[in-house]
């Protein structure tokens, strides 16, 4: 009896121990002052689950998301809902870039044969999960990037990843509280404790830029990568404008409307990082003082990070920054690669899209540019010009999949070698399409959004680079992470065009008029073919009234 009791208690102990071993939850918050009066704050909530053990039995992983991942056999999933435009040129690079509106891409397991059906099901399910219009993702706005996107997670080296990938973006999607609430419910502490308590939708939807994301991938458990873990990462990126908080001294109260009520008790690690590199040029003090300051050397770029370890003791914490001198505008250092995209032309007949990419480095950079034009904006490959040349030597490889109306978008990928210290201009012409009257969205004259282009690059320098290395899950991996290349995928700004519209008020009139013209031909031709000419006495000339009367009489004959 005693033995059984002891055995059972061991069992319980071990299960508990195993579960603690297999599930891990970490929350991190990163602040970085950006040039010209902006503040970048980035939340990251990471849950690591043993993927060998069914993720349904996890304590910490969001069950609804885990079910989606396992049911649709998703290897890797990235979903972002973004409002606003990240200004790479001015702000440098975010930790994770996101396209304006909604963006979803996923790799399916190699066992999935009918990827398109799974993709539709996945997007429809996620649409319900996040209350976003992802159900509008269909074959007409989905592409399979060939070169621009690569998995962030662990994949078998022999695996053909491109055919299992689908990418779609909905640039018109508006991000709102209704998307944030279900997103918060996926966290183990929801919004009651931990860093997510700061995400007060009243405050964060007032920012210049906000992006909510969910990223699922497989990561190696150990360096030999015999076993993999499933990583659920939920992110929020916010850009505050000092103009809006009316001072360049910020604190949690000012930014989020409240202090931080301690860490989430379920998290193994809760840390706040503040980038204090700019302290040397713009002296400021942090209050309360950080636990320690780390000097990180990445590439040849030095970064100073102030670190706070937050404990789940329920004490209110209000971290803030006070500048010693008032309103100094920092000088922005141009990042190694920046870009701009705009629409050419006037009128509503022909136009062009221009993508300008500037390489600010002293070394050439290879980039992959993915232009993804919706079917109602047919681009013509024959008009593609790189720096004004039809056959440019800069283009090393090219992939084009022509679009089809109402079925497939136009998808162009270019591998371009950008010469050092230069700007490369990619121009392509398009023709405006005239849609059916029911295909126009409400408020048709508002214009149509064109999704952003993807630019995928391996940067030779870590200047302005904040992303985590591909093997890292938390922010400590950034420290002293010197590599040969720093991979990143950018989203350019979107654009807008105004398509020509028909008159929505007169379908009946048009149908009647066009049918009348057809009848104008049918009537006489019918008469000519079926009747013969005869002479009919016309009699004496009649007055107008009699003529009118005769008209009715003729009918009776």
């Amino acid at each position: 009896m005693d033995f059984i009791r002891r055995f059972l208690s061991y069992c319980i102990f071990f299960t508990f121990f195993l579960c603690v071993r297999c599930d891990e939850f970490k929350e991190e918050l990163f602040f970085k002052p950006l040039p010209s009066t902006h503040l970048y704050s980035y939340f990251q909530f990471v849950t690591l689950v043993d993927s060998e053990v069914s993720s349904f039995h996890s304590q910490l992983a969001p069950r609804s998301l885990a079910e989606v991942v396992s049911r649709f056999q998703v290897e890797e999933l990235h979903l972002t809902l973004t409002e606003g435009q990240w200004r790479h040129h001015q702000w440098g690079y975010p930790v994770l870039d996101a396209a304006p509106g909604a963006e979803l891409y996923a790799w399916f397991s190699p066992d999935v044969t009918d990827v398109d059906t799974q993709w539709k099901k996945l997007s429809a399910t996620l649409s319900g999960l996040f209350c976003a219009s992802l159900n509008f993702i269909d074959s007409f706005n989905t592409v399979t990037p060939q070169m621009a996107l690569w998995p962030m997670g662990a994949v078998k080296s022999s695996q053909n990843v491109t055919s299992q990938l689908r990418y779609a973006s909905l640039p018109r999607e508006i991000v709102c509280t209704e998307n944030l609430t279900p997103w918060k419910k996926l966290l183990p502490c929801e919004s009651s404790r931990g860093f997510s308590a700061l995400l007060n939708s009243r405050m964060i939807h007032n920012t210049n830029y906000h992006s909510v994301g969910v990223h699922v991938r497989k990561v190696c458990k150990s360096s030999d990568c015999l076993e993999t873990q499933l990583e659920f990462k939920q992110t929020v990126a916010l850009i505050y404008d000092y103009e809006i908080i009316k001072s360049n001294d910020w604190s949690f109260r000012k930014l989020f409307g409240q202090g931080l009520p301690g860490a989430c008790p379920l998290s193994t690690d809760s840390k706040i990082y503040v980038d204090v590199t700019s302290n040397s040029t713009q002296p400021f003090t942090l209050s309360p003082p950080p636990d320690n300051i780390i000097l990180s050397q990445r590439g040849r770029t030095d970064t100073k990070l102030a670190v706070y370890n937050i404990h789940p003791d329920g004490k209110m914490i209000n971290i803030g920054v006070k500048h010693k001198t008032k309103s100094q505008i920092p000088v922005s250092i141009h990042p190694p690669l920046f870009f701009n995209r705009y629409v050419l032309g006037y009128g509503k007949e022909f136009g062009g899209i221009v993508t300008e990419i500037t390489n600010n480095c002293l070394a050439p950079i290879n980039v992959v540019v993915l232009e993804n034009a919706p079917w109602w904006l047919p681009i013509q490959l024959s008009t593609l010009r790189v720096n004004g040349e039809a056959e440019s030597k800069l283009v090393q490889s090219q992939y084009y999949s022509p679009g089809r109306s109402r079925q497939k978008p136009y998808h162009l990928e270019l591998l371009i070698k950008l010469p050092p210290k230069s700007t490369t201009t990619i121009t392509i012409d398009f023709e405006f399409v005239f849609l059916k009257w029911q295909e126009y969205p409400p408020d048709a004259n508002h214009g149509f959004y064109i999704g952003s282009a993807l630019i995928s690059a391996n940067l030779p320098t870590a200047r302005n680079y904040t992303s985590l290395p591909i093997t890292g899950t938390t922010f400590d991996s950034v420290i002293n992470d010197t590599k040969l290349w720093y991979p990143i995928v950018f989203r350019t700004n979107g654009a807008m065009v105004s398509l020509p519209t028909p008159d929505f008020s007169m379908p009946y009139n048009v149908i009647c008029l066009a049918c009348t013209v057809v009848a104008l031909a049918f009537g006489p031709l019918h008469n000519i073919c079926t009747k013969e000419l005869v002479l009919k006495p016309s009699g004496t000339s009649l007055s107008l009234t009699q003529k009118l009367l005769n008209l009715f009489k003729k009918k009776k004959d």
């Binding site: 007949e349 024959s382 999949s401 005239f434 048009v510 057809v518 031909a521 006489p524």
Partner: protein, 429 residues
């Protein structure tokens, strides 16, 4: 001498327009270039084919694979020849139409002599003499060479130039009794644009009349040669596309289902823009039957004695009612009208039709600019103009037919419009 001068002047005019700075503007006009025939799309198709991308995978190219390969080789080997080539092809079309109209007039004259017994004495002066007949062939040539519609069509380098050439060759083949030529070329034209399939009926009638002998055998032979050559062309196109018949969706499928609603001078674009979704299939079918099948049988039965008139009317009707018409099609059938110069005196709406042609031709580009570029008009303006242009064309064709039956009546019964001494008028009963 005069004829050669006409060719030279017309050729130079076309060549000059193609080399003009405004060429791009001409080639992009909605009235001239449709999604089916525009030079831009041809370039795109050839470019994709050159880069090993199937042009029929996307939605940008709607020509037949034969045309694709033809232009692919020209653009690869001798791209500088293109302006000259288009000019020469259009001049060749004019020349073939000239020869065709001469032959047709000979046929007209023969049939007139056959029916001489039925002609009333007082109508004898109305019969056509040689001078009049010779004159009308000259007019056909002049109209095709200097009609602004055909000039602009050639200047825009649309593939309608090729289409007109194919149809003209087929007509010439029929008028000179060469069955193979007529059938092969009408099959080529059908393969390119589908609507010329109608012309096989008048061509079969003309061939039977020219070649004499057993008429029914002649019909069957013509039909057989046509079907065989059309089938062969479809197969050949598939062979070019590595055995895939997918191009059919982009050529015939595109013509029949009207997925591209870019405005043109026809009736389809706004009608199907504003169409209610669940009636779309019904109306697409109705409009295509109207353009392809509706008028062939009744008109053939009515005018089988005069297949040339039948050919003219069918070309005209299919140009008005096709899904992507352009001014090149209009120019082509307008050039055939001078053959019916002797009917003009019986036509009642010449003035109205003429005025409408001029006004709509001027107003169309104006309201287009107002709608698309200055944003001060809307689609209804351009629709109104295309609607009246179509109405004018319909009036022209029905008026021509009425004139024909009136003349027929007058020849038989004399020109007096009296019944038992009382004034009377001609009515259809």
């Amino acid at each position: 001498m005069g004829v050669i001068l006409k060719y030279v002047v017309a050729g130079l005019l076309r060549y000059w327009l193609i080399n003009l700075d405004y060429w791009q503007t001409i080639a992009n006009r909605v009235e001239i270039a449709t999604p089916l025939n525009s030079w831009k799309r041809l370039i795109e198709g050839v470019y994709l084919y050159d880069h090993n991308i199937n042009p029929y995978e996307g939605d940008s190219f709607h020509e037949s694979p034969i045309m694709l390969v033809f232009f692919y080789y020209i653009m690869k080997k001798v791209p500088f020849i293109l302006p000259v080539l288009f000019t020469l092809l259009d001049l060749l079309t004019a020349h073939l139409l000239y020869k065709t109209s001469k032959a047709f007039i000979r046929i007209l004259k023969e049939s007139q002599e056959k029916q001489l017994a039925e002609v009333a004495d007082e109508s004898k002066p109305m019969l056509l003499d040689d001078a009049q007949l010779k004159e009308s062939a000259e007019y056909v040539l002049s109209v095709y060479l200097f009609n602004p519609y055909s000039v602009l069509n050639c200047a825009g380098m649309t593939t309608t130039v090729i289409q007109n050439l194919l149809v003209a060759t087929a007509l010439w083949g029929a008028s000179s009794g060469q069955r193979i030529v007529a059938c092969v070329f009408i099959a080529l034209a059908t393969h390119q644009a589908l609507y010329p399939v109608l012309l096989i009926v008048p061509i079969a009638l003309i061939l039977a009349e020219v070649n004499k002998g057993c008429t029914k055998c002649s019909y069957i032979r013509t039909l057989l040669v046509f079907v065989l050559s059309w089938g062969f062309l479809i197969y050949l196109s598939a062979y070019i596309m590595d055995g895939s018949y997918k191009y059919v969706y982009n050529t015939y499928g595109f013509i029949l289902t009207v997925p591209d609603l870019k405005p043109n001078i026809g009736l389809f674009w706004y009608f199907f823009t504003e169409m209610f979704e669940h009636f779309r299939v019904l109306f697409v079918c109705a409009f295509q039957i109207n353009a392809l099948a509706l008028y062939v049988v009744p008109l053939t039965l009515r005018f089988k004695k005069d297949p040339i008139l039948l050919a003219t009317v069918l070309i005209a009707l299919s140009s008005i009612f096709r899904s992507y018409p352009c001014v090149g099609d209009v120019g082509f059938y307008l050039a055939l009208l001078p053959m019916w110069k002797h009917l003009f005196t019986f036509m009642q709406q010449k003035f109205i039709v003429g005025c409408t042609f001029i006004i709509t031709s001027a107003l169309g580009p104006t309201v287009w600019h107002l709608w698309i570029y200055s944003g001060s008009a809307n689609a209804n303006f351009f629709f109104g103009v295309t609607l009246s242009f179509a109405t004018a064309q319909i009036f022209l064709i029905t008026d021509l037919l009425f004139a024909y039956i009136k003349r027929e009546f007058t020849l038989k019964k004399g020109s007096s419009r009296q019944v038992d001494g009382k004034p009377a008028k001609l009515v259809l009963r």
